[in-house]
Symmetry: D2
Subunit: 202 residues, 4 copies
């Protein structure tokens, strides 16, 4: 199977659910051991994207204070999480370099496409390649990749800049994404090199 | 054609795009003469809904400051409108009685269902009837009604609590909604009576 | 307001709900007087599209035999209609020149986008302009136009090749479409000229 | 984590992509060793569902003959597959007991919700629980489960009546589904018992 090129057409960077909770501990969601190291790589990818003029889009999973929109999310391994107004629900601004002027999308479900204006934004940006970082590899990242794939986007996941609920689940989801698009799995250094090779942003 | 009942199952009130711009004048969108009188009726419906425990959901049309998400909205009769950060884009809080604790949904397109979490919220609320007020009758209200109809909701429009881009367009869209569901067109007094007849909210 | 160009990028022709019922009489749906004359124009547009290499996509409104999917469609002016297996539900093949090899999409709701693979097909075709013919002007055509508009397509309606539930509703919906995109309303002769001016299909 | 009940409200059975190709060999899609044994279990579940009045819905992945709708599906591990008109694309009617009167949905993408009328049908049936069988565990089944979960359905997967692209991928996806809803993984015998315990269909 020939590896797909890293970037096709215009890329955007999807920064998925890097919220304060993971740095504060707790938060109702399990994390694999190297989670925070991988989030440090995510920061490097974000900075490189900005320098190269690749727009980052920041996603926040957030549930309404009355819990009306949890749907079936409490039927499984996750406890109450990401409630609006809780400190852990905020985007981890210092850790990610999030700016008030950045594209920001709040979501109620795992996929960044589900019940959001992401498709509107991507069409406006004329984006063709989605580069995914953040968490959880095996939930929001995986299901966003699957939807991006089904919406015809070239999708890439930075395997050492995403974190899973466990090492096993992280690895399995990376394999599942690679199944969909050969060459989808990339490493931070590759992304940094590819961004550095682009013409500088205006 | 027998008239459908006013309320089936649990109702919610959709308060569509009652934003400061209409009260400040200007804003890039045309309005029919009695627009503000009808918005005063909208306020009466909102207050009665609260008293009856019918949750209002406030919608704000808003476009990103870089205009990336206007799509085709500037190809027709509307000029640049509802940009985030402009004073006219804010929900008309005093005029509607909007509270920080109210359900609030920002949207980029005309239909309240398009690129939003409305379906998630409606499922969470177990809503079956949507009561529509706000504006424009012939754009956001009409296309929200059509989508609500296609999503199997009982839809009602309060004809003297919605405002159109012109009298003609307002009347035509009310007729189109009545075509879809007989008895969809209702008047403010009918709604107030129906809400008053419900058991009081806890 | 400057008129938008007739065709931007690659066009496709949406042939909406031209089914046998309208030609057989009856069918549970009201029609304006000149309906069949306008459908004859629709045929001319289809033939010209083929000659110019503009792909037609044929839509069929169809409900399952047990009526499970009517949703709220029987709450208004329409009676039971377009049931699978009824002769009137078939695409009007002779009248439209429909071929087995044509793109065909069955739909359960009014908008051609709702619960169908239309967006998948349009992305595959790299279509940017949608040209609408068929019926009803004020129902399936209008709501398909609104969704196409919201999905960022350039939308055009051939005003004498669409038919409404009544003359009044037909005229009102044409105005509503023109409100969304200036120059959306076009006549059959204009479309024929524009198609004839394109390079011939391979 | 308490196990969720097997059936909540009205159940339906989603029979995902059991097509002739898997029985004919080839077909452009990899399969795990026990694939056909698990499809034999799927047949037992289908027969029991019918006897209990639980409606099966049969899905067929199918691509248009000109390949216009493959999107990104050929960028990864799958070769050209499920083209309309190919013998392997047909529902495996003998093997599954598929009847002309059964609910049938053709899909272009992996998730049974993507670009289809499934939500319309589920609302019409007032379904609350989705029971999934068929293939591939790690592609169409997994992504349908994720979408069903995000649409607020109780989702169950019959682990010995689904088949994956490999044993590893099959096992990983079953774990991922169990992560979302505790007690999602069930065995054929449990399902047969639960169906047998229901009141007989009329």
């Amino acid at each position: 199977m020939p590896q797909q090129p890293l970037i096709v057409g215009r890329p955007v960077l999807l920064v998925i659910d890097i919220q304060k909770g993971a740095f504060l501990g707790g938060g109702g969601i399990p994390h694999m051991p190297r989670y925070l190291e991988n989030m440090a790589n995510a920061r490097r990818v974000i900075d490189a994207a900005r320098a190269a003029g690749v727009p980052p889009i920041f996603f926040q999973e957030a549930h309404r204070p009355d819990h009306v929109d949890f749907g079936r999310e409490l039927d499984g391994s996750e406890d109450v999480h990401c409630v609006e107004g809780d400190p852990g629900t905020e985007i981890a601004a210092e850790e990610t370099g999030f700016l008030p002027s950045d594209y920001f999308i709040r979501k109620r479900r795992y996929s960044c496409f589900f019940g959001t204006d992401l498709e509107i934004l991507l069409k406006g940006l004329k984006a063709e390649t989605l580069i995914l970082i953040g968490g959880l590899t095996d939930v929001c990242v995986h299901y966003t990749f699957a939807d991006g794939h089904q919406h015809d986007y070239h999708c890439r996941v930075v395997e050492d800049a995403v974190g899973g609920s466990s090492d096993t689940a992280h690895a399995a989801s990376l394999n599942a994404m690679e199944y969909l698009q050969t060459g989808a799995r990339r490493r931070t250094e590759e992304i940094l090199d590819a961004f550095a090779a682009r013409p500088r942003a205006a």
